[in-house]
């Protein structure tokens, strides 16, 4: 499992957290599980980075928190997207897709680009 662990690019964790909350409120443990399962066990979120990221997002007003009961009947802190968080998510997804496409283009190139003056 450790082999499959990928390093997070800076800023990626935030957008992933926002995305996982699109389907409804979740607690921190649920968020890390969801990311792990959604990425087919490829992305493992460390707790030491997950919680500070959650609090930072809450502090920025992108998330809001509420205490509730978990599926195993324990008191847990659930996070949900705010309107502002949803807007931020849309923006970041767009940025991310553009970035990924660009990177993919470069990495997937089979030949060098044509000289510019000839294009």
């Amino acid at each position: 499992m450790d082999d499959a662990k990928l390093e997070f690019l800076r800023g990626t964790l935030d957008v992933l957290i926002l995305k996982t909350l699109v389907w409804g409120p979740l607690h921190g443990y649920g968020i890390s599980n969801l990311i792990r399962r959604q990425s087919d066990e490829a992305l493992l979120v460390e707790e030491g980075t997950l919680y500070p990221a959650l609090w930072r997002l809450e502090n920025k007003g992108l998330l809001e928190a509420e205490w509730g009961l978990s599926e195993n009947n324990r008191k847990a802190k659930f996070y949900r997207l705010t309107v502002k968080g949803r807007r931020q998510l849309r923006k970041e997804v767009k940025t991310w897709e553009a970035y990924a496409a660009a990177v993919a283009k470069v990495l997937g190139a089979t030949q060098p680009p044509l000289p510019e003056e000839m294009a």
């Binding site: 607690h27 921190g28 609090w55 930072r56 509730g68 195993n72 008191k75 802190k77």
Partner: protein
């Protein structure tokens, strides 16, 4: 997610706890992880370790969480606070708008109270608190004789003595002075069109440098301007430059034609500079006077004259006034009045007083009294508003009870009430600022009020800070009044409709009564104080001045005698005889000085058998007059005769003295025909006049003598005084026409009623009486409003009860009587307390009173009757309403 069950919501009952939140959140994570691991087949103890291992540094994360949590919490509280405040404000504005009548009255009352306080504070601040408008003003001192009683001559020094002090002192950076005997319009500015009179002040070398005044244009006088036969130079005051030269900067360096009315020389004078707008000589040194220009006081021209320089010095840094005083005590007795005539003696002493203290020291007490009076007004305003708010709270009792029932804490309601009172006080303060601004703008331009620095009065930062302070103070004082009522209240009783006659209502009524009694007592103190001051003022007006100011007026006469005594006598004779023949004129005469304005003094002694020494001379105000002047002023000849044209023509040295001189020099004997040494010559006493109050109405008359204008006695300027059957304004045209016929160069001087001089002399007292009187009236008005409010409210509350009693046979008169006796009870308690307080307070203003005892029974009685009468009137209106209650209507309505 499922919502937490009810019991679990109570674990943050005592308020939010970010640290515990973080701990709980992380604990949940670990526990769930352990569950999952166990489900995957781990042994529980190992699962626990594994979960913690996976988590990493849990403490560091926890710590970070606490920090972020606290930050969020703080921010949330702040946002909540402002959101609440904003909500309170919106709510307040809405309720106030609903109750527009109350709002308008409350704001108006507050505006009056706060506005009066701002205005008085600004005056106090300008005259007492703020340093003088000079650089390092605390270093400036005024130097006068120790026992300075006899007019300006006792507050001034000769040129020689001044120079000695300048050279020998070690405590001062510089010492300078100004010529203290400058009369208004002592110069004539000619050039374009009719000559313009101007007031010019002679200042000694270094005067402006000592004060630290920098010119607005051009430069100050150079040292050579003070040399004998120097090129004449002048500095213009800012207002004169604006008025006369249209603020033309090109005037600097040009010459203007200026003639001095005393030595009557026409000179062309170079304007070397313009003084700054902030420098108002009159405001600082001679209240109410305006000075148009400044010329050098050339010491060599005044070597043989008497005391004429008023000294101002700037002490060196680090030297105290006491140290400088010690030095002055050593030095001044060594100075000769005139070096060339050591036989004139060395009569000097020097008393140093801080310039600020010298200027405003005498007003200190009056201003503090004024401040207290206006503070009392604010207190009455607050009490009145508390009363109004209480009445309103009674109407809003249900609202508050409802809000309490719905969970509003007392703190919230207090905050709501404070918001309301702050809004009211804020609006009142804004309106009050406007009022104060208008009043101060008016005061600053009152040249007839002889108060120092008054022209510099304005609303400055300190006044704004004071406004804020008193507005907030007032709001805190009157705002929470309804809370007292509410906290004593009973929710259920308030929620139920009526509550008439309930004990709570009675308690409430008692509190309002206490407030009204307080108001009446305060108003009583104000009224008594104002009454005592008013009576003093009337006593001052009643003083026998020794002359008749009404229907007499004076104008400065210009003439050119070329320094020839005979020619001067001829001109004076012509002016007086032609003025006397103008229709409507009863008497006319000339004097060089008028009472209650500029003065000077010489010594006078009775000629006896022995040689006279310094001790035999008494200081004596001296007036050089023409025949007819005494009559024109309405002065009363007690014995002997007035000076005559014959005396002047024959150069006879004769003198008319006043009773004070007669009493001092020839006690118990007739002075007529005696020989006195006056002005350095033997003169024959030909007449005695009743004492004239030459300096002020309040001080006792000093020694005075009236000398004819002869070779021996030269006048300092000349004023024609005309007594007429008509009002002075009606005479102005014909008198000015006559003067212009005699001398076409006569400047368009002002024809001033003598009454104006008296008014000016009494103006500070009038100013204070007027203000304290206005405050007292305001206090009376507010107190009567308070009485009316309380009585009227209690009548409304008792409508039902009164209705029942009338139905049972009570007569209208009886109901009326009861309501009025309620009023009287309040009024009497208030007046009783007020009179006791007034006795105590009146003693502290005793020094401000004139020929009036602080316990003056008439004043006390009059004020008690006035206050009682107004209180009765305020109570009568609701009483009449009570007696008109229709029992059927009253009973049906409830």
């Amino acid at each position: 997610m499922r919502p937490a069950p009810l019991w679990r919501r109570y674990d943050r009952l005592s308020g939010s706890d970010p640290a515990a939140d973080v701990k709980d959140e992380l604990r949940f994570h670990l526990e769930t992880k352990v569950d999952d691991l166990v489900a995957q087949g781990w042994r529980p103890e190992d699962a626990h370790k594994e979960a913690e291992r996976q988590f990493g540094n849990i403490l560091a994360v926890q710590h970070m969480g606490e920090r972020i949590g606290e930050h969020m919490d703080r921010r949330r509280r702040l946002t909540d606070y402002w959101a609440d405040a904003l909500r309170d404000l919106r709510f307040t504005l809405r309720t106030l708008r609903c109750d527009a009548g109350f709002t308008v009255i409350a704001i108006l009352i507050l505006a009056l109270g706060i506005g009066a306080n701002i205005a008085v504070f600004s005056v106090v601040n300008t005259i007492l608190l703020r340093p003088l408008p000079f650089r390092d003003a605390e270093q400036l001192v005024r130097i006068v004789e120790k026992d300075a009683k006899n007019g300006e001559s006792g507050r001034t020094y000769t040129a020689d003595a001044t120079q000695d002090f300048q050279q020998r002192n070690r405590s001062f950076q510089s010492v300078s002075g100004y010529f203290a005997f400058t009369g208004p319009n002592n110069f004539k500015l000619s050039g374009n069109g009719q000559p313009v009179p101007a007031t010019g002040m002679l200042v000694a070398e270094g005067f402006f440098e000592t004060l630290g005044v920098e010119p607005a244009a051009g430069r100050l006088f150079r040292p050579e301007a003070f040399a004998h036969h120097a090129q004449p130079a002048a500095l213009l005051s800012y207002p004169f430059w604006k008025r006369q030269f249209g603020g033309d900067p090109g005037i600097v360096g040009r010459t203007v034609d200026l003639s001095d009315k005393v030595d009557l020389n026409n000179k062309s004078v170079t304007v070397v500079g313009v003084l700054p707008e902030t420098f108002d000589f009159g405001a600082v040194f001679s209240p109410g006077a305006k000075v148009d220009l400044f010329v050098p006081y050339i010491m060599d021209d005044f070597r043989n004259d008497g005391n004429d320089l008023a000294l101002v010095g700037r002490i060196k840094p680090g030297v105290s006034i006491a140290q400088a005083q010690n030095e002055a005590d050593l030095l001044f007795p060594q100075f000769y009045a005139v070096h060339k005539h050591p036989e004139y003696g060395k009569p000097y002493t020097g008393q140093l007083t801080g310039l600020k203290q010298y200027i405003s020291g005498k007003l200190r007490r009056s201003l503090i009294v004024l401040w207290w009076a206006v503070g009392m007004i604010l207190l009455i305003v607050c009490v009145n508003l508390a009363n109004l708010l209480l009445a309103r709270a009674a109407a809003r009792g249900k609202e508050f009870a409802m809000r309490s029932a719905l969970g509003a804490r007392t703190g919230h309601i207090v905050r709501q009430l404070l918001t309301e009172s702050l809004v009211l006080a804020g609006a009142g303060a804004l309106l009050g600022l406007g009022l104060a601004w208008a009043v101060l703008a008016y005061l600053a331009h009152q040249e007839s009020i002889a108060l120092p620095l008054l022209s510099m009065v304005r609303i400055d930062g300190a006044a704004l800070a004071w406004t804020l302070l008193i507005a907030v103070g007032a709001a805190v004082l009157f705002g929470p009044a309804p809370v007292l009522r509410m906290s004593a209240g009973n929710l259920q009783a308030a929620l139920k409709d009526s509550g008439h006659g309930s004990s709570e209502g009675r308690k409430h009524q008692r509190m309002r009564s206490i407030l009204v009694v307080t108001e009446i007592a305060l108003a009583c103190v104000l009224l008594v104080g104002a009454g005592l001051l008013l009576r003093s003022f009337l006593r001052v007006l009643d003083v026998d001045l020794g002359f008749e100011p009404s229907r007499a007026a004076a104008v400065s006469v210009d003439y050119d005698d070329g320094g020839d005594v005979a020619k001067r006598s001829a001109i004076w004779h012509e002016v007086v005889s032609r003025a006397s023949t103008i229709p409507g004129v009863e008497a006319a005469g000339i004097s060089d000085n008028l009472p209650m304005s500029r003065n000077r003094s010489w010594g006078i002694a009775a000629k006896g058998t022995q040689k006279l020494t310094d001790r035999d001379f008494i200081d004596d105000f001296v007036y050089i007059v023409s025949p007819g002047y005494l009559k024109a002023m309405g002065m009363r000849l007690v014995a002997g005769r007035d000076v005559s044209w014959d005396d002047i023509a024959n150069n006879r040295n004769v003198v008319v003295i006043n009773e004070t001189v007669a009493r001092k020099l020839w006690p118990g004997q007739s002075p007529i025909g005696r020989i006195a040494i006056a002005g350095g010559a033997e003169t024959e006493v030909i007449g005695v006049i009743a004492d004239v109050h030459e300096s002020s109405a309040e001080d006792d008359a000093g020694a005075q003598m009236y000398l004819p204008s002869t070779k021996q006695f030269g006048p300092e300027g000349s004023y024609l005084v005309v007594r007429s059957r008509l009002a002075p304004a009606a005479m102005a045209m014909s008198v000015m026409k006559t003067l212009r016929e005699i001398n076409p160069g006569q400047s368009a001087g002002e024809f001033k009623p003598i009454q104006g001089l008296v008014d000016r002399a009494t103006s500070p007292r009038r100013f204070f009486v007027l203000l304290v009187g206005v405050f007292a009236c305001l206090g009376l008005l507010l107190a009567s409003l308070g009485i009316y409010g309380v009585i009227s409210y209690s009548v409304t509350r008792q409508t039902q009860e009164i209705g029942i009693r009338m139905a049972l046979g009570a007569t209208q008169a009886r109901v009326q009587l009861e309501v009025i006796s309620d009023t009287l009870r309040l009024a009497l308690i208030g007046i009783g307390l007020g009179v006791i307080a007034s006795f105590a307070i009146a003693r502290s203003i005793a020094s401000l009173l004139f020929r009036t005892a602080p316990t003056d029974p008439l004043t006390f009685a009059a004020m008690v009757v006035l206050l009682g009468g107004v209180a009765l009137l305020a109570g009568y209106l609701p009483a009449r309403r009570a007696s008109r209650i229709d029992p059927i209507q009253a009973l049906r309505n409830n």
